[in-house]
Amino acid sequence: MAILLIAEHNNQSLKSETHKVVQAASAIGGDITVLVAGLNCAAAANEAATIIGVSKVLLADNAAYEHQLAENIAGLVAELGANFSHILAPATTTGKNFLPRVAAMLDVAQISDVIAIESSDTFVRPIYAGNAIATVKSTDAIKVLTVRPAAFRAAQTGNSATVETVAAVHDAGVSKYISAELTKSERPELTAARVVISGGRGMQNGENFALLNGIADKLGAAIGASRAAVDAGFVPNDMQVGQTGKIVAPDLYIAVGISGAIQHLAGMKDSKVIVAINKDAEAPIFQIADYGLVADLFTVLPELEQLL
């Protein structure tokens, strides 16, 4: 087995998802090569070399890869990947964007959002918004997988793998980066946070989300939201937890003013401990919450902040 793993990074440093996919790759068994493709991303490549389990890091440093445009990255990964038995990337928006393109170029299927590795050819993934769990077996020569980071622990660091430079330049010439508008946040990333506190429609407006700040600060938590809160314009959509947003599995998930639609549960029901705060005792969220508090969030939140 030879595994190619495409690192998630921002050209300066690796994102924690990469460490989690290395953990998944270790479960397959075999040599793990990590590809870091970007521009001026040597630091990220050096960081990848420190992850335990990684045997080699490939560094593709070129302007064509700066913004991770799928058309260019896929060309590179398809060329390199032809020599591997497995190609893995995190199931983030970046991985989901380029990896299916790679799979089609290699004429193999992709298995999306893998949550468990049964063997080198058998994988487990959720379907129907997590309401069913499928075990699938692939006989493709190259297994192409996106891995759900929330389902794996992060691999440790302390390794010193070799870093090799890859000269190949793939520029498909059909796409161009124009701009990016990133949400600034001092808090931990949603998908990596140990504690997540999310607000829903019950928050009533965007200003009220400030009630979550103090609690998040005390717990070192990330702040999430339900789709209802995002669609109502309370918060930006990259805070959305759910089937179509981010999938999280923190130690503690606190759902505030969230009813618990199946699409939301798909994004958080693997959290270790779930707390629901809702004034509607019949809200479906209470069926999966370990601790439920039936009360008005506007009285509960200040009290909670004080007691922490």
């Binding site: 964007n97 959720p126 692939s138 990016a180 370990d290 508090l293």
Partner: protein, 249 residues
């Protein structure tokens, strides 16, 4: 400009699915089916581009049994001009779907293909990207805004951490995210008119595509059920439980 919109018939998103007792799949007998929500958004965007004078024709496509014609009629009622049904009894994987669509792109020569970012049954999020790969087109996935200007399309994409705008040379593939638009409802007169719009049926076998996937489903199981929790009476009790019982804070 011609726009192709591939759509999928899936279980209605409000239905709570049940896994079959023999673990071969999900029970779809007598379950309400509907257009995949992301596909509705794709149809809406194509129809809006037509209404804005940017597109001349909107062609919807669906692959599956005769039953998918129901969803194609819905798409026609929402404003699509004609429909193509690629008929097969097989349940296809994304790669096979993308290969069939790529053949159709060759025949129809659209300027833009708009599809949903994922189907809510298989949750794969692959078909658009694979179609783009097979046709060599650029891809604008998870689109929350689409703007067409002389031979190019600017797509604002929802990415982790915010938004990214890319520019693609036409023809291109765009996949829709939830916030791209608010799909309209089909009015009764439009539903009646849709019955007269052209719907062409083609056999999947006639495309010369190998429809067999190398991925097989070993089993489908129900997810682990969470243990029923308790209700606490006060915030103090909640904090106490989290500290001493669950030990998560």
């Amino acid at each position: 400009m011609k726009i192709l919109v591939p759509v999928k018939r899936v279980i209605d998103y409000n239905v709570k699915v049940r896994v079959k007792a023999d673990q071969t799949g999900v029970d779809l007998a007598n379950v309400k089916m509907a257009l995949n929500p992301f596909c509705e958004i794709a149809i809406e965007e194509a129809v809006r581009l037509k209404e804005a004078g940017k597109a001349s024709e909107v062609v919807v496509i669906s692959i599956g049994t005769t039953a998918v014609q129901e969803q194609l009629r819905t798409a026609l009622a929402l404003g699509a001009d004609r429909a193509i049904h690629i008929e097969t009894e097989l349940s296809l994987d994304s790669l096979q779907v993308a290969k069939l669509l790529a053949k159709l792109v060759g025949e129809e020569q659209p300027d833009l293909v708009i599809l949903g970012k994922q189907a809510i049954d298989s949750d794969n999020n692959q078909t658009g990207q694979m179609l783009a790969a097979l046709t060599g087109m650029g891809q604008g996935t998870f689109a929350s805004k689409v703007q067409i200007n002389d031979g190019k399309v600017q797509v604002t994409r929802e990415i982790d951490g915010g938004l990214q705008t890319v520019e693609l040379t036409l023809p291109a593939v765009v996949s829709t995210d939830l916030r791209l638009n608010e799909p309209r409802y089909a009015s009764l007169p439009n539903i009646m008119k849709a019955k007269k719009k052209p719907l062409e049926v083609k056999a999947a076998d006639s495309f010369g595509v190998n429809l067999q996937s190398n991925v097989t489903v070993v089993k489908v199981a129900a997810p682990a059920v969470r243990q029923g929790g308790i209700k606490v009476e006060s915030v103090a009790e909640l904090v106490d439980k989290l500290k001493h019982e669950a030990k998560v804070i």
